[in-house]
Amino acid sequence: MSVTKDITTLKGTVLEIQRMSTEDGPGIRTTVFMKGCPLSCTWCHNPESISPRPQVHWIGSRCIMCKMCIDVCPENALYLDAGGIEVNRELCTGCGRCADECPSTALELLGRKWTVHELVAELVKDRAFFEKSGGGITVSGGEPTLQKEFVTELLKTLRGQGIHTAIDTCGVCGKDALDRILPHANLVLFDVKLIDAELHRGFTGSSNERILENLWHVARLVKEHLYPRELWVRTPVIPGATDTDENIRGIGEFLAGLPAGVITRWELCAFNNLCVDKYTRLGRQWDFADAALMYEERMEYLAEIARSTGVDPAIVLWTGSTRYEGNNDDTGEKKKSIKNNPTSCQGGIT
């Protein structure tokens, strides 16, 4: 990749653009999900974002069983079985011809190429809402730093138009990528999943050493430079993986050691299971398919632990859906022991 590559031909692979996003930074935002991620977390909520290549998936509820996709595939990678249209992932090259042909959009190509200008034109459409809400654009993924050149140009152009920018990173990248991208970001959303290096390797496929180093690096950038302005840390709370007292305490103690005042928010994001269909569509098993949502009490309890670790307690909050009483038959079995708050469960928003 060359730094001087022409911005008009530079292309990024985008998984999805989500308008009126209210969960990825301040205000009303449009979130761009870039394709490709160096981690492979077992709980991943966006499994279609992991591969950097375009992929097709099949949404059964839309399919009218015309089978035109099967005829049009040059690799003969599609076939019909009892469960519907199947994609042979070995053969599929992600050329997208089936998706182009599909009359009902049951087959979708995940990962479209955009130039910076095309993408910016699409992203600024909600400017009025950004301005009224203090919102803007969040570039998420996948891992956006994998497409550092494109993302740098994208953020630079958006900042040039006075739009608030945020980047959501898993922290697995070179320092050079951070140094190039972050001067154009108002806010960094930084994921810290597990503090124990071995557990991290076990659940995500790589160690957290570089992630924690990069977190230090970002913290210094925030402290010493005009941009980025702010750093938010996010920890996914995954049942049986990241939801232990020790993990939350360990992350908190690490964060407490960073330069004071740099982190303005630490969000514990409760596991959600809405992505279960995504795995099916991609022809994959998901270890968490049967995992239940977190209990509200448990999230409160973990947030309390987080607040007791030495970080400014005011920056800790938890988000996401929790279990609604009575919507699971297996209550109790997956229920975590609740130490501080033995009262019965309240209905959360599901």
Binding site: Q18, R19, M20, T22, G27, I28, R62, I64, C66, M68, P103, S104, T105, K125, D126, A128, F129, E131, K132, S133, G134, G135, S321, G347, I349
Partner: protein
């Protein structure tokens, strides 16, 4: 069952903080049919054998009544009780007869009753009174209706063939309440006398003199009715044992002995006067409420509120009076009390408006604004009066906080939101188009108010026929595809006879020979011109009858322009007198054009012949093409500039054509708007399959909303599309008003349903407030916010008995979810889920 009932309890907003008095009145109202007292229609006759009461013209826009017209005519005629006529009755002009007859019924024939605990008098007003016509007049009117080319046959043909409907309809205006309060009827009567005295003697003998005399008679009605109620209060005061109630009744009697003849001083007097003045409009028009709107009550009632608060009225007591007023407004539905569930199809709309900007952009909210919001919150769910909150660039956070809190607790907004800047741009546009700049300009436009659901008008001098003409734009697409004939022959469901399709529209040629999209578009332009001319002609057939035979002299007293010109409001005498063409099926039409262009011309997925055959077959056997039409062709409502450009072209075309027309009999200019009431559901069964993939029998699109399921990019994209097709924002503030353009002066109904999680915590509530502020910039004129949960709705489908009070808001009108049909329930659920087609 029990868990379902519990669920209903949890989810559904309950009234709160009501006093025993209001609680009782509210519950009594909901007893409906079981009540000993009600406000059911009573019918009154001159006693002549040819007499008629029921005015079918005013129901031409309600297709559900077509099958009942003859029954209603005869049942009101048979039930009518005679009124003893004054000796010279038949020597009087029609408006004088009518003014006298209605006053006679209201003052001397209807009982005057006060419900237990009620603080507002004015109970029975649903009446069907004699048209007061001579035999010759009545016969002429009947001929104009039932003759071969009469209004009834024409109206029915128009509807049966999928064009829509039109009729000269009552209600639907904001009368001059502020003026009637500040002058009192005494003052209005004096003015009328002066004007009458100023007439020449030949004018006095002519129609002007007759009209003014009729209005003078009508102007004495409120005072006389009030006196009767004062007597009723005094009678009851003697009987009650509770001394506090006695004091109340005596105070009510005192109020009624002064107002509305004299101008009110206190808040109680003002509300009492307002109620009588309002209820007598419904009596005068024989029309129970739809669109008889109050305007900006927090503004014109504020001086009385302040006076009473300053002189010691307890604020809660002020709210208590309002709550009684609320219950009264709901009794309008008693006109249909025997159709069950309080006759609630919720098409009524005694709309009141609160908040909004002043001349210099300042927010005009005051303590009464907030008190009214509290009343709405504490009384809801309840259907009437329908509140509309005006938002604008300078709406204070305090008001938005209140609005958002109420949306959160009521499963959606218990009011419609109206957006000032975009609305004012539309009003300025109509001023320019119709040369009303002397009446609507920078100094006045901020004082506009919506009527009915969301239809913007000026106040006290404006009747703009806001629901009178409802046109299915999609018909023009069908006519292009057939070269000007119906796609399917019409079969009369009653006689079973099938008509042979005839060449109704212009011959725009065989579309299979069109080589380019432009040829198709040109044919569409021609057919659109034709259907607009067609509805204009249809409207004339009822408008001219009303103008000749159905004056409303009492209402005319409350609308500027009538006395001044000596003509009745039904003759187009309001200073601002438009009639509005409401386009129905907008998104379906746009999406159909987009689909034709995409499938036949751009992508060449099929030939025109194949497309037409698919539509004739109602898509049966053309599954792949239908799927392409639904899923691959571009759609309006996604903030896709290409698709929205087509939408804007369609908007420019039909609104441009609309401005070219005027009624012949009354000189009213047509203006454009978009309200679809429930036609988008019902007419879906009449209209042929459409190129956007919709089958015959599926719903059409609603008002300015994208087609069901098309808004896949969420609320901001949906909002942007709506703002764009209205005209968007102008550079350099050179818009219709400031930087805003708006091609629809009437405004447009827009509904967005949100997932309740958008309001889950203070941070998200701030985001939602910001969305509303963004809507001010980018969106339309009015927004209904729904906040629903599909699971709850499915539960309500299964256990309707537990969800009797669950209100859903579909077009800016409210309906009890359990009282609407399964299809519409499914539609609401589909919208909630934001699922695809």
């Amino acid at each position: 069952m029990e868990s379902s009932a519990k669920k209903a309890q949890e989810f559904i907003k309950q009234p709160k903080g009501l006093s025993d008095r209001v609680q009782w009145l509210r519950e009594y109202y909901f007893d409906g049919n079981e009540r000993a007292w009600n406000n059911e229609n009573t019918s009154w006759t001159t006693g002549t054998p040819w007499d008629e009461q029921y005015d079918e013209l005013t129901f031409y826009i309600v297709p559900e009544t077509y099958a009942l017209l003859k029954t209603l005519h005869s049942s009101y005629r048979m039930a009518a009780r005679p009124v003893a006529l004054r000796e010279d009755f038949w020597k009087l002009s029609i408006p004088e007869r009518r003014a006298w007859f209605n006053r006679e019924v209201m003052v001397h024939y209807l009982p005057h009753e006060i419900l237990p605990g009620d603080l507002i008098a004015g109970g029975r007003f649903n009446i069907q009174t004699s048209m007061c016509l001579t035999k010759k007049e009545q016969e002429k009117r009947n001929r104009m209706i039932t003759g071969k080319k009469g209004s009834r046959a024409r109206m029915k043909w128009f509807h049966d063939h999928g064009y829509g409907n039109a009729g000269a309809t009552s209600g639907h205006l904001v009368p001059g309440h502020e003026r009637a309060l500040s002058l009192g009827w005494k003052g209005i009567h004096e003015e009328l006398e002066e004007m009458y005295d100023d007439l020449t003697s030949s004018e006095k003998k002519g129609p002007k003199g007759a009209q003014l005399r009729a209005m003078m008679t009508a102007a004495t009605m409120p005072g006389q009715v009030a006196k009767k109620y004062a007597e009723a209060c005094r009678d009851q005061a003697v009987k009650v044992t509770d001394s506090m109630r006695r004091e109340e009744l005596l105070q009510m009697a005192k109020n009624l002995e002064r107002v509305p003849w004299e101008p009110p001083k206190t808040f109680w007097e003002a509300l009492q006067a307002l109620w009588l003045n309002h209820m007598l409009i419904m009596a005068d028009e024989n029309y129970p409420g739809p669109g008889v709107s109050f305007g900006r009550i927090d503004q014109y009632l504020y001086p009385y509120w302040k006076y009473s608060i300053d002189t010691g009225m307890d604020r809660e007591f002020g709210k208590e009076i309002m709550k009684c007023f609320w219950v009264h407004a709901n009794t309008a539905y008693d006109s249909m009390i025997r159709t069950g569930n309080q006759g609630i199809t919720a098409g009524f709309g005694q709309l009141l408006t609160i908040s909004g900007r002043g001349k210099d952009g300042e927010d005009l909210s005051n303590d009464l604004t907030y008190a009214i919001l509290e009343v709405i919150d504490e009384m809801s769910p309840i259907l009437e009066p329908k509140p509309n909150v005006r938002l604008h660039q300078n709406t204070p956070d305090e008001l938005l906080d209140r609005v958002v809190a109420m949306i959160e607790s009521s499963q959606g907004a218990p009011f419609l939101l109206n957006f000032d800047e975009r609305s004012m741009a539309g009003m300025m546009k109509e001023a320019r188009m119709a040369r009303f700049e002397h009446l609507i300009n920078d100094d006045t436009v901020w004082d506009y108010a919506p009527v009915g659901c969301l239809e913007n008008t000026m106040v006290g001098n404006d009747r703009s026929g806001t629901v009178d003409n409802n046109l299915n734009l999609l018909k023009a697409v069908e006519l292009v595809l057939t070269g000007g004939r119906d796609m399917h022959p019409f079969t009369d469901p009653i006689t079973g006879k099938t008509e042979k399709p005839t060449q109704d529209g212009p011959r725009t040629g065989d579309p299979r020979t069109f080589a380019t999209w432009d040829e198709f578009w040109d044919a569409y332009v021609t057919q659109t011109r034709y259907i607009i001319k067609k509805i204009v002609d249809l409207y004339e057939s009822s408008e001219r009858i009303r103008a000749c035979f159905n004056p409303t002299p009492y209402l005319s007293c409350m609308v500027k322009g009538c006395a001044e010109s000596g003509r009745d409001i039904t003759q187009g005498a309001a200073e601002i007198s438009f009639t509005t063409l409401e386009a129905v099926t907008y998104a379906t039409t746009v999406d159909s054009l987009l689909a034709v262009k995409y499938l036949v011309f751009d992508q060449e997925e099929c030939t025109m012949d194949e497309l037409i055959q698919a539509l004739r077959d109602n898509w049966e056997g053309h599954q792949v093409l239908q799927a392409r039409a639904k899923n691959r062709a571009p759609k309006y409502g996604r903030d896709d500039d290409g698709a929205d450009e087509m939408a804007r072209k369609v908007m420019e075309l039909w609104t441009g054509e609309t401005w070219k027309h005027r009624t012949l009999s009354t000189g009213r200019q047509f203006r454009p708007g978009m309200l679809s009431w429930n036609y988008w559901a019902g007419d879906g069964f009449i209209m042929a399959a459409s190129p956007d993939g919709r089958e015959k029998g599926q719903f059409l699109s609603n008002a300015i909303c994208p087609s069901n399921g098309a808004d896949i990019n969420g609320p901001t994209a949906n909002t942007n599309s709506v703002g764009k097709v209205l005209g968007g924002r102008a550079r350099d503030n050179q818009g219709d008003w400031d930087g805003y353009n708006n091609m629809l002066p009437n405004g447009a109904s827009h509904t967005i349903t949100f997932n309740p999680s958008i309001l889950k915590d203070p941070e998200h509530r701030e985001k939602f407030k910001a969305f509303l502020r963004g809507y001010v910039e980018n969106g339309g004129t009015a927004l209904q916010i729904n906040m629903l949960d599909p699971d709850m709705l499915r539960d309500a489908q299964k256990h309707p008995q537990d969800y009797r009070h669950l209100l859903v808001r579909v077009t800016g009108y409210n309906a009890y979810f359990t009282s609407i049909g399964k299809e519409l329930q499914d539609e609401v659920i589909a919208r909630v889920s934001h699922s695809r087609f």
